[in-house]
Subunit: 191 residues, 2 copies
Amino acid sequence: MSNFVLASKSPRRRALLAAVGLEPRIIPADIDERKLPHELPIPYALRVASHKAIASDPGELSVVLGADTIVALDGETLGKADDEQHAEEMLLRLAGRTHVVHTAIALRWRRPGRDEMLSDVVSTEVRFRAFSQEEARRYIKTGDPMDKAGAYGIQGDGGALVAEIRGSYTNVVGLPLEETLRLLRMTGVVA
Amino acid sequence: MSNFVLASKSPRRRALLAAVGLEPRIIPADIDERKLPHELPIPYALRVASHKAIASDPGELSVVLGADTIVALDGETLGKADDEQHAEEMLLRLAGRTHVVHTAIALRWRRPGRDEMLSDVVSTEVRFRAFSQEEARRYIKTGDPMDKAGAYGIQGDGGALVAEIRGSYTNVVGLPLEETLRLLRMTGVVA
């Protein structure tokens, strides 16, 4: 099965797949990622991941992986920051507290006469240590927060904000690898 | 308090401290890190961390941070790999199972008329997903495993091996930042 496509331009997701020997074709999906009014975190992430897998359509005989990562705090969804001011607000809300990272994965699996969608959501608790506004600003200056849900990346300098994790680590990076491989095995992309 | 010293040449420990605005002088300690016969994991890590903090001696009025990270599996200690063959053996033992990462930190705090040692040990459970010998070899070829306890680094490609974490994340990177800052606050190095 060679027609494996990743519907994401995230270099972190690509790197995780490369680490297990997978080099999908990259066809980013250009969709509207905005949350609907009153949409809950998990349904929102699942909807966006599935939408990405459908929008990035390489034709028949394909397996397309869409993924969406969000941060939830007090039942509210934090996506990507609009600007540095917004990133600072998010980081200071997260400081000293525990949030949940949800990543939804969706595999659209097209074969002759069949068109299926396999999906999953993985949730990880992340506790940030207490930190100052000065530290949040120093981190924002690195540029790392700007394209990431919750305005941080655990692999770069953002890792220094993270005190504790309960659950999948690669989920916090942006793609729960173990669960993704489980779905890919069903489609035959992975042996 | 400017005479803050890190008794480690690990770039990962230095990067974590830099992320919180700390730039200690680096004076690596050249000590014998071998385990004693029958020495248990936590006492071993504590002994080595304290020894590093003592061996790297910049003189009076100093705060010296020593740290030692080990991986424990079934009560046995896995240190750094001797060579690629040894790294492969370690990784295949860890595959599909949960191990514990212990990092001991020791702060030697010298003031006129006082010479104190503050220390702590932080333990994090890490579960690896199942992976093949081929994947272990591909990871070893990146060179990442060779200078790290348990033959992996979570921040690089080794993160793709990690399915689940319970506990401190920065501890797995090599320096439990929250606990280190708590000790540094006692000495006045951190406000």
